[in-house]
């Protein structure tokens, strides 16, 4: 099976500074891949290249079957993206946000109708769908943002600290949604600062100073560093030299 994300010696330089230094890895269909690293380790740069927003300096990456350097527009159309700063329009209603995103991804009227019904039913939004997004609770916004990142049925979805700042119950409900999407075959590429969430991933990579310093299942990583939590693995590894 062809991996959904395939990265080979991917690098990005800003002047003399090497933000991402020849990283290589693959992510399979339906896998939950945790992309960890300290602030400034190069995660954002790598994510931006993988989502077709930034051209690599060298190396190659294929996402959903497309080359991020030469087919950036196709990459963007075939991935979903959600960040902590939910890209919802606060002054539009829930229904209008759904239609707007459906439009952006060039879905047909019928598709938009079907999927918006799907989202409204699934999250029990019928009574609030005509409310402005800015008036709904944060937990709902987060779930809606995730549903919208998946509205065009992308093969892979990039989640950039999706659970920052939410309460502990909502945070866990959000992971239920992630598992469900992964189970449906969507590949999940996620960053987080919650180390308990690193344990929920199928595999985890840890970036340090532009390099991938560790890659494996949580249990493999804990075993190889002889510690009992991903937090301990992270504390051992994550502080490279750049921030000292």
């Amino acid at each position: 099976m062809e991996p959904v994300v395939k990265v080979e010696n991917l690098s990005k330089k800003f002047g003399e500074f090497i933000a991402t230094n020849a990283i290589s890895f693959e992510v399979n269909k339906g896998e939950i891949f945790g992309f960890l690293g300290a602030n400034g380790a190069g995660k954002t740069t790598a994510m931006r290249m993988l989502s077709g927003l930034l051209t690599p300096s060298s190396g190659q990456a294929f996402v959903a079957g497309f080359d991020v350097a030469t087919q950036a527009e196709l990459v963007k159309k075939n991935i979903g993206y959600m960040s902590q700063k939910f890209s919802l329009y606060e002054d539009l209603t829930i229904q209008e946000n759904i239609e707007f995103y459906g439009g952006i991804y060039e879905l047909s009227r019928q598709e938009i109708k079907d999927r918006s019904k799907g989202i409204v039913d699934k999250f029990q939004l019928a009574s609030v769908k005509n409310k402005l997004v800015k008036t709904i609770p944060l937990g709902w916004k987060q779930k809606l943002a995730f549903a919208l990142a998946l509205i065009h049925k992308p093969k892979v979805v990039f989640l950039d600290e999706p659970t920052g700042g939410v309460d502990p119950i909502t945070r866990r409900q959000f992971w239920d949604l992630i598992y469900e999407a992964a189970n449906d075959g969507v590949t999940i590429f996620i960053t987080t600062h919650y180390m308990d969430e690193a344990e929920y991933c199928d595999r985890v990579s840890i970036m340090v100073d532009g390099l991938i310093k560790a890659l494996g299942t949580p249990s493999e990583l804990k075993k190889s560093f002889d510690v009992d939590s991903m937090d301990a693995v992270f504390q051992l590894l994550a502080r490279g030299t750049a921030n000292k």
Partner: protein
């Protein structure tokens, strides 16, 4: 009567239809490191902004060292240090220029209170000529802290200083807070990270504008009323599904590779639990009784409310 560093009584603040603070009362003692723990939208920022006299409350009373936040704005601003949630320094000024700007605004100099910020500022020194806007996130955070401390405030108020900060840098930041506390400065810090609560002397759980509980971290976790089990199994999802389906389960949440489970019925012990798992063809590699974490207790209080 004891003089509190911060005293808040029935504080209420409304933004249109949203009740940001709903009759919040608490006090912070002098020299205390007090944590305001809660998710986004809990009211943490509103509370801190009222304390530093940026906004006014609709109802109730807040005072800093017995000075009323409505009347003594100027005196309060002289004795508090405030680090807002969003980076608020001058991006076009250098590190050193920002610091000396804040020092002058408070009628002091960098050298006068240097001992207070020395250990933090030492890490910034190599970049002292760099524009603040060009610093990394961690460095911006350290500079903001230095600027909030440069006039040697009596009380330091920090609004989510560690949000979006990685796990290693968060630990370092809390180490700095302990050092500042040891110099006799009272600290009120807000955070959405439950694990940071353990590093405070006392904490307030805030959720939806209301206080769920106020106490020391130890006493807070004592409020979790049931025996708590941590279960580990290779069949992670089957384990969750199977336990959620059991009507006897009162509490069931994932914590990293473990599942935390509790029963109101305290006759259920590990053996009975294991037997139930077997009926679902689930084998647990570990079932242990553990002490509840801060996060367990927060979840419990969210679901069941306060008991007072």
């Amino acid at each position: 009567m004891e003089k509190y560093a911060i005293q808040i009584e029935s504080l209420t603040k409304r933004y249109d239809e949203v009740l940001a603070l709903d009759q919040v009362s608490l006090h912070v003692e002098e020299g205390e490191l007090f944590g305001l723990i809660g998710p986004d939208g809990a009211g943490k920022t509103t509370l801190i902004k009222i304390l530093v006299t940026i906004i006014g409350a609709d109802d109730g009373k807040a005072s800093i060292l017995e000075m009323d936040t409505r009347q003594a704005k100027k005196s309060i601003r002289e004795i508090v240090g405030y680090m807002p949630g969003r980076f608020s320094l001058y991006p076009d000024l250098s590190v050193e220029e920002n610091l000396s700007f804040f020092a002058r605004a408070f009628d002091t100099t960098i050298t006068e209170n240097y001992s207070l910020i020395e250990s933090i500022y030492d890490q910034l020194k190599p970049f002292k000529d760099r524009k603040a806007g060009a610093l990394s996130g961690g460095m911006k955070q350290k500079l903001s802290l230095c600027c909030a401390l440069i006039h040697r405030p009596k009380i330091l108020l920090l609004d989510e200083p560690t949000t979006g900060v990685d796990a290693v840098s968060r630990k370092e930041f809390w180490q700095m807070l302990r050092e500042i506390k040891s110099q006799g400065i009272t600290i009120l810090v807000s955070t959405p990270y439950m694990d940071e609560a353990n590093l405070c002397d006392r904490i307030a759980f805030l959720q939806g504008g209301k206080i769920l509980s106020i106490d020391s971290p130890k006493n807070i976790t004592d409020q979790f009323p049931w025996q708590l089990f941590a279960i580990k199994s290779q069949q992670k999802y089957a384990l969750i599904e199977w336990l959620r389906a059991w009507e006897k389960v009162s509490y069931c949440y994932a914590f990293g590779e473990y599942l935390h489970v509790a029963f109101e019925d305290n006759t259920i012990q590990a053996k009975a639990l294991n037997n139930y798992l077997k009926t679902g063809s689930i084998s647990a590699s570990e079932i242990t009784v553990i002490s509840p974490t801060i996060e367990d207790t927060f979840i419990y209080l969210m679901e069941h409310g306060t008991r007072c």
